[in-house]
Each structure stands twice: as structure tokens, then as C-alpha cells.
């Protein structure tokens, strides 16, 4: 057994847990709270009950507004039977810079979301095909990437290489976790290095950009998928809107940095409705894995 395989085994031995699927009702960005309180969509103001919203996969039937999801909801809609084997669940952040209030923020986020970090990674099946799946949680400190998130993304990619499984990552992030200073910046390098290894081994890597994806995540693995999908009207960009407005001293158009804008400019392969994501991902896996064998 190679050293690498042994290492992967160790991660599983220590962290392979099958979690019951619970829907955390996170009052995220207050959008869903808004629906609960006012019984209407915050975007189009049509009548909308929380139950109705949930049964439509958290997409407004009136205006197609895609509400943000928690990782566990995303898993429910992506994994066969909602079965998901999480790994590296024990990886957590540390405060290497002794940055003021960082520990408190982590504690609050953990309590609020029931998550350990801003990403959940694991293995599941999508229409029968095994994949490594990573889902970022914007609810956890704005989905920011520190050492823990960087490590989990890296290990997800390396696991895909080791197990020869495609890797799918749903991104949602405000960028680097500034409380970890330069170490957070280096996670861009680390995750991209892993993406480079994946490419060398010809393991498919798919990205689904969800609202919002920006900063250091956009400038690393989020733009490195073989195929890059996006949900409708998700904010996707590098620099923040306000920063750009400050630079050019004028207002930006409404659609600036939305996924439709990114597709028009050539950086997104396809915009996919939430209800179609699962079957689109299954199609991608099928068209990327064992192609030569099928044609022989």
C-alpha cells in the first residue's frame, strides 16, 4: 500500500461518519426569514409560504429567485437518497495570528450553523455514480476560506484522484478569511496545486457556482473546473462591487457580476436551474468517466 493510500485510510478511520440528514433552518441573509415573517418573496413580493418555498427547492415559483441553501439541503437535492458519507469533519480552524475576536466568531458560527467549518466534504452517489462532493456554506463566516477550508478542499480533490472519482464542488464564499492573514491567501495556492494534480491524473472536476462566489475562491478552484456550472443570477466575481464602484467612481449596471454576465463574458459553461442540477451533474459524470472504455 502506498504511503498516500495509508494516509487516506487514516482520514476515514478517524472521520468517516454517516450523519443523519437534518435540515438546519438557518435564517440566512434574512431572505428566508423574510418569507417566514411576511409570507411573500423578497424579490417579487408574490405570496409565498415557507412550505411552498421548500417544496420548490427554495426557488420562488413566481420570479425564479434562487434562495441560498445550507450544505445539508444541497446534499438532499444532490445525493442519491440523501446518503452522504462525510469525511474530514474533524478539521477545524485555529487562530494562528491571535487575531482579535476570531475564536468568538468561530464559536458563534458553529452554534448558528451546526457546522464545523465553511465547507462540508464527503462521498455520495449521483444517479448511481460515485462522486466526491464538497459544499461550501455561506452561512459560516461568509463562506470564507481559511486554512481549514483550504485543507478540506485540497483533501477532497486528492481523494478524487486516489479513488478515481469525479470531484464536484458547490462554491459560496465571500473570499479569503482575513483573520488568518497570509495563511488564508496561501489556501488559494494550495487548492490550485491540488487541482493541478487532479488535471495531471485526468480526473474530472466540476464546479457549481452558487450565490455568492467571490474573491479568493473565484481566483482559485472555483474557476478551475473542467466544466463550470452556475445557478441563475448568482453573484460571481473577483473584486467586490463597492470596491469597483470606488475605483471607477460610478454605479455599475444591475447585472454586473451575475452568472448570466459571466456566461456572456465566457467564464461559465452553463447556467442550470436548481431542479435540473442533479441530472446535469449525472450527465457530466457519465460523459467524463470511462469514456474510452465505453467506446472500445
Amino acid at each position: 500500500m502506498s504511503r498516500l493510500t495509508r494516509k487516506f485510510k487514516a482520514w476515514f478511520r478517524t472521520a468517516f461518519i454517516h450523519r443523519p440528514l437534518i435540515t438546519h433552518r438557518i435564517k440566512d441573509g434574512d431572505e428566508r426569514l423574510f418569507v417566514e415573517r411576511k409570507q411573500e418573496c423578497p424579490a417579487c413580493h408574490k405570496h409565498l409560504s415557507p412550505d411552498e418555498l421548500e417544496s420548490s427547492l427554495f426557488v420562488c415559483p413566481g420570479c425564479d429567485h434562487h434562495f441560498r441553501l445550507t450544505p445539508w439541503e444541497r446534499i438532499k437535492y444532490t445525493a442519491d437518497g440523501g446518503v452522504f458519507h462525510e469525511f474530514c469533519a474533524d478539521i477545524e480552524s485555529f487562530n494562528p495570528l491571535d487575531f482579535p475576536e476570531y475564536e468568538q466568531k468561530l464559536t458563534t458560527s458553529k452554534k448558528k450553523t451546526g457546522l464545523n467549518e465553511a465547507i462540508v466534504t464527503g462521498i455520495c452517489r449521483v444517479e448511481g455514480q460515485e462522486v466526491v462532493l464538497g459544499i461550501m456554506a455561506f452561512q459560516f463566516m461568509g463562506g470564507s476560506m481559511g486554512s481549514a477550508v483550504g485543507e478540506k478542499v485540497t483533501r477532497a480533490l486528492l481523494l478524487g484522484m486516489e479513488k478515481k472519482m469525479p470531484v464536484i464542488i458547490f462554491t459560496a464564499s465571500g473570499g479569503a478569511r482575513m483573520q488568518e492573514g497570509i495563511l488564508s491567501l496561501m489556501q488559494m495556492a494550495k487548492t490550485s496545486a491540488a487541482a493541478s494534480v487532479l488535471e495531471e491524473h485526468k480526473i474530472p472536476f466540476f464546479i457549481v457556482l452558487t450565490d455568492p462566489t467571490s474573491g479568493g475562491v473565484t481566483a482559485s478552484y472555483a474557476m478551475l473546473g473542467d466544466v463550470i456550472l452556475a445557478e441563475p443570477s448568482a453573484l460571481v466575481g473577483f473584486a467586490g462591487r463597492r470596491v469597483i464602484e470606488g475605483t471607477i467612481k460610478q454605479k455599475l449596471p444591475e447585472n454586473f457580476q451575475l452568472s448570466e454576465f459571466q456566461q456572456e463574458k465566457g467564464f461559465v459553461d452553463a447556467i442550470v436551474q436548481r431542479k435540473d442540477l442533479r441530472k446535469t451533474l449525472a450527465f457530466l459524470v457519465k460523459t467524463h468517466m470511462n469514456v474510452k472504455k465505453v467506446w472500445r
Partner: protein
């Protein structure tokens, strides 16, 4: 108490509080106040920030002039444009061919406008990658000069995919089969710096800074007070010495008293000496080894807790010992 002692005590208190779930926030607050008010180290850090941004600080082209013979600048990304904020080309280092890439700030007001203050567009990052691949093709080592406050945060940069351009460079630099030496000469600003900052050996000048966000940005976003930039700089750990401690860079080159601009020739001579030394070492490495080592260097970066892991990662152990 010196600053070091205060930090040490703070660390102890914080871990104690976490371990035993004690509420000692009052004590921590008092110690932190001491840190904020005890200004000497803050001043020292801020001095470096000012030096790194100094108008007279030697730029990439200034160093190229002194260090190399016969530099030929090569322009354009072969796709959209030539970005004057990012320069590149071929030169001779002691009569041996090398490829150079680097951000270029203007040396006067007019040039600075033309160079967009060294804030590169996607075109610049794509030009850099083109030149790096060309260097690889002909076996020339790459020397990358980093000096930028960041990638250009503008509409054109977003339209042409600044995120994609940086991401692609990060990925591609890991498969380049010639040595890459990075030297941070002034400002290492965030993803814009890292976009040409992946290398086998990373050198930093004594008064250069390297950070995930500017102190001003950190102050306004995290401390919600833009006027606290000086304090932000001191807690962000952005000096060369901090980065060496975190094993992000490999060595520091000292500067003349008062900063590099007081004597560019001396600074350049020191850089040249280091470049020659490290390139001679790297060039003798087999290509597979070079690429593997580069990967492993960055694979190790980051500090996190793995609760169920039997032993702490090597870096975390070393890091905790240093504290």
C-alpha cells in the same frame, strides 16, 4: 511586559479559557489594550508599510537594469492586449539566459498612470503565463518580481475574467518544469501578488510587505474603522519576518538603513547574489523533483486543528514550539 510577553500571556489565557470554558474576557481585553496602546511595535510595522509603498522605492525595471545584462522586454498576451502594469522578457544573469516577469509601478506620476500603479489586468497575468511557458520550453529559469497593491479592481478586469486569469496561473505554475524564484520587492497585495507568486524559492526584501488585504481594507472591513489601519497592520502579520515564521517565504534580504531606495545598487547586488546562489542549486534538481517539491511546499501551508488525528502536522508542531 514586553510585547512578546503580552502575546505569550494572551495565547496562554485564550487556550486556558477554551480548555476550561472560563470567562476571562476582561483580563484578555486589558492585555489587548496594552498591545494597542503600547505603540512601539505598531510604529515599526507601519514604518515598513510606508517604506514598501515609498515613491522612491526601486521598481522591477530598476532592479532589472542593475542585476541583468541585455534585457529584452516582450509584450502582449497574444489574446487581447499588452498590459503595462505587468512586464516580462528575457535577460542574461551572469551571461546565462533567464525569463523575467513582474509587476511594474510607474517611477513618476505620468508613468504611474500608464502603468496603472502596477495593478495588472487579466491580460497581464496571461502574458506572464505565456512567458513562463516559453521559458519552460527552452529551459530558462523564471524570476518573478512581485510589487503590487493588488490586481486591478475595475470593470474591464472583471469582464475579462481576472479571477480566472489568476486561478489559471496558480494552477499552471505548479506544473512548470523549470525553476521559479519569486522575490517580493515592495507590496505583495493579495491574489494579485500571488498570481505570479508561486515559486520554488520565495525571497522577500526586509521592508516589503505581503498580505491578504491592505491594512486599510482590513481596518474598514474587520475592525469597522478605516482609521485603524496602523493597528490593523500590526495584527495582520505582514512583515517579512512574520512570513518567514509562518514558512511562507524562504529568506529575507536586508536593506540599507532607511530602505532600499537609499542605495538601490547595494540592494540589487544582494538580490543578485541570492539569485545566483539559489538558481545554481535549483537548476541541478531533476525536473520531476522540482515540480514535486514545489507542490509539497505549498501543500503544507496553513494551520488548522484535526481533532481526531493521532499526531499534529509537522508545521503545527513547529509553529506551537515557536510561540
Amino acid at each position: 511586559m514586553t510585547e512578546k510577553e503580552i502575546i505569550k500571556r494572551l495565547t496562554e489565557l485564550r487556550s486556558l479559557a477554551q480548555k476550561h470554558k472560563l470567562d476571562i474576557s476582561e483580563e484578555i481585553k486589558q492585555l489587548e489594550a496594552k498591545l494597542v496602546n503600547g505603540n512601539s511595535s505598531q510604529d515599526a510595522t507601519w514604518k515598513k508599510v510606508e517604506l514598501a509603498r515609498h515613491n522612491d522605492r526601486p521598481t522591477t525595471l530598476d532592479y532589472i537594469d542593475i542585476i541583468f545584462d541585455d534585457f529584452l522586454e516582450l509584450h502582449g498576451d497574444r489574446s487581447f492586449s499588452d498590459d503595462p502594469a505587468m512586464i516580462g522578457g528575457i535577460a542574461l544573469l551572469n551571461d546565462k539566459p533567464v525569463t523575467i516577469i513582474g509587476q511594474q509601478k510607474g517611477r513618476n506620476l505620468k508613468e504611474n498612470v500608464m502603468r496603472n500603479s502596477g495593478m495588472a489586468l487579466p491580460d497581464g497575468y496571461r502574458k506572464a503565463l505565456r512567458l513562463v511557458r516559453q521559458a519552460e520550453k527552452y529551459g530558462r529559469p523564471v524570476i518573478s518580481f512581485v510589487d503590487t497593491q493588488g490586481a486591478y479592481p475595475g470593470v474591464s478586469a472583471e469582464e475579462r475574467g481576472i479571477g480566472e486569469a489568476i486561478a489559471r496561473n496558480l494552477k499552471e505554475f505548479f506544473s512548470v518544469r523549470v525553476p521559479i524564484v519569486v522575490i517580493i520587492i515592495g507590496q505583495g497585495g493579495s491574489g494579485g501578488a500571488l498570481g505570479i507568486g508561486i515559486g520554488d524559492y520565495v525571497i522577500m526584501l526586509e521592508n516589503a510587505i505581503y498580505s491578504v488585504i491592505s491594512p486599510e481594507g482590513c481596518a474598514s472591513i474587520l475592525l469597522r474603522d478605516a482609521s485603524k489601519a496602523k493597528y490593523a497592520a500590526s495584527i495582520m502579520k505582514l512583515t517579512a519576518r512574520d512570513l518567514l515564521r509562518f514558512e511562507i517565504i524562504d529568506t529575507i534580504i536586508s536593506e540599507p538603513t532607511g530602505g532600499a531606495h537609499q542605495n538601490p545598487e547595494v540592494t540589487a547586488a544582494k538580490i543578485k547574489l541570492e539569485l545566483v546562489k539559489v538558481l545554481n542549486k535549483l537548476i541541478s534538481r531533476p525536473q520531476e523533483q522540482l515540480v514535486k517539491n514545489r507542490y509539497e511546499k505549498y501543500r503544507r501551508m496553513g494551520v488548522f486543528i484535526e481533532k481526531n488525528a493521532k499526531k499534529k502536522s509537522g508545521f503545527l508542531k513547529r509553529f506551537l514550539r515557536k510561540e
